[in-house]
């Protein structure tokens, strides 16, 4: 099957979907790597903090996969896909704007840094990372037209999004922290997510505005 035909179910080009999966993978890990930095002033720099961060990121992603997969069964479309990115970006804003406001009362009320950091992580990261987690299964649905291909498409998508995660981890921990402030990197991630969402919505809008010939075969099928 040609790649054009694969795109038909969403009207979004597969290359676009795959690139966006790369960006979301990149941002997830950039945000995760910065988590330890953001929390160290209140909960220390020990392994405890990493334990909290990784736990909450894993749980948030798990919930995101479940929810994203479920949403993809009901009228999968480009608009929803774009809104995931914009929603995640907006829910990342409190990490910059209210980090101290969030962590200070937790620090004051919970003496044990283990539970303090866990709670802080839930409040700051669960929602935005959960939304980012919804992107993967939803992308698979947008890419897949027939069930024969689902495994292949899912493999490709996870390959790219995980490459994105690897790149995000490396770039952030090796270079970004040397070049920028933590918050500048966070703003960068938010900007990347907003732009990704904007591009998706724009392309989706353009494709829907003119009754695209590409959509016809999908009805024929």
């Amino acid at each position: 099957m040609s790649s054009k035909k694969r795109a038909v179910s969403s009207g979004l080009p597969p290359l676009l979907i795959i690139s966006m999966a790369f960006i979301s993978g990149f941002c997830i890990m950039a945000i995760e790597m910065l988590g330890a930095r953001i929390m160290a002033p209140y909960f220390g720099g020990s392994q405890v903090v990493w334990g909290s961060i990784i736990t909450i990121f894993m749980l948030a992603l798990a919930m995101g996969y479940l929810l994203g997969g479920r949403l993809s069964t009901r009228n999968p479309n480009g608009t929803t896909f774009g809104l995931f990115f914009i929603g995640a970006a907006l829910f990342c804003l409190p990490i910059i704007l209210f980090a101290d406001l969030t962590m200070r009362p937790i620090f004051l009320n919970i003496e044990d840094p283990r539970y303090g950091s866990l709670l802080a992580c839930i409040i700051m990261y669960f929602v935005p990372i959960g939304i980012l987690g919804m992107i993967s299964p939803y992308s698979v649905r947008l890419l897949v037209q027939s069930q024969d291909h689902s495994g292949h498409m899912a493999g490709q998508l996870f390959f790219i999004s995980t490459l994105g995660s690897a790149a995000g981890t490396l770039a952030t921990s090796f270079y970004f922290v040397l070049w920028f402030d933590v918050n500048q990197i966070m703003w960068g991630s938010i900007a990347a997510l907003l732009m990704a969402g904007g591009v998706i919505l724009l392309i989706d809008y353009l494709r829907n505005a003119q009754p695209s010939p590409a959509r016809v075969p999908s009805h024929e099928k």
């Binding site: 930095r37 002033p41 220390g44 020990s46 922290v177 040397l178 933590v182 918050n183």
Partner: protein, 300 residues
């Protein structure tokens, strides 16, 4: 030419050291793996050393001479007592970073009535200090297993102040980045008594040295920089009040030196080496919670 000379020196050093070591066999008497590091206790003759991450070639963290445990083996450990020149009679003391416990053990011996808090992040280090380095807690000296940043922040909330604070948490090959930011030093400043003294044991390495100096300068305006020729360490000594003139340090050194003799601390040599001269690049960026790539800076 210069390189060749260096190589020759190094070779000579190796031969000399190799010789002195070979007369006693170094024996590993304890190994322990904590969540933070590998801890090894090695004994060579009477000298017993605590080494972190031995496989990565780390230097000794603390050494003691088991026949004369009062004596401080390392120059930097001795140097950290130069802070007493500014505050000779501390009543409340905080030591961040335990290691083998040489510094707190000496402090409690010197000031048995002083209330000493030791904060160490790694329980395994506390255990090893107890078992192998004669470190003992007493009613006036207790250890808290916690991250120093968390401990200092909480102490600040309680409104507690210390006369003498020793930051000695930079052992091993990893610098805890959250312990050298401007914000951390502000938190430390907030728990210093009005005439309290801060002594920080750190390195004198490359770019990191510049960044660290600039950060201390930002928070404390001025500090004594204390380096000894044979040591790669440097000690930062500062206080909230303006620093005393050299004459006052000399007088204090003469008064205190006898009481420090039993620990091998050559206090009389120190005043001449405490300097406020700027020997770092002042254009470097201040380290903050937002920007603290200390470990990356160290290697560059």
């Amino acid at each position: 030419m210069r390189n060749k000379l260096l190589v020759a020196c190094r070779l000579l050093l190796t031969i000399l050291c190799g010789h002195s070591v070979s007369s006693f066999a170094a024996e590993t008497i304890h190994e322990e793996r904590s969540i933070y590091r590998d801890i090894t206790v090695v004994q060579t003759g009477d000298r017993r050393c605590l080494i972190f991450n031995v496989h990565r070639g780390d230097r000794n963290q603390t050494c003691i001479d088991v026949s004369t445990p009062d004596k401080l083996v390392f120059a930097y450990t001795r140097m950290s007592f130069a802070g007493l020149l500014l505050k000779p009679d501390p009543k409340t003391i905080l030591v961040a970073g335990l290691g083998g416990g040489s510094i707190p053990t000496t402090l409690t011996d010197l000031f048995p009535d002083a209330e000493i808090d030791v904060v160490e992040v790694d329980q395994a280090v506390v255990n090893v200090a107890h078992q192998f380095f004669f470190f003992e807690e007493n009613p006036n000296m207790k250890v808290t297993v916690a991250d120093a940043r968390v401990f200092v922040k909480r102490t600040g909330l309680l409104g507690k102040k210390y006369d003498y604070i020793v930051l000695d948490a930079f052992g091993g090959d990893y610098i805890p980045e959250h312990l050298l930011t401007m914000e951390f030093l502000e938190e430390v400043k907030a728990i210093m008594a009005d005439d309290g003294v801060l002594v920080a044991n750190t390195f004198s390495m490359s770019r990191f040295y510049d960044h660290e100096s600039v950060t201390y300068q930002r928070v404390f305006t001025e500090f004594f920089n204390f380096k000894m020729p044979a040591s790669g360490n440097r000690i930062i000594i500062t206080q909230l009040k303006p620093l005393p003139p050299r004459g006052a340090l000399v007088t204090e050194a003469q008064r205190l030196a006898p009481s420090l003799e039993k620990y091998d601390i050559p206090l009389l040599e120190y005043p001449a080496r405490l300097t406020t001269r700027v020997d770092w690049d002042m254009s470097r960026r201040v380290l903050t919670d937002q920007y603290a790539p200390a470990n990356l800076l160290r290697d560059n």
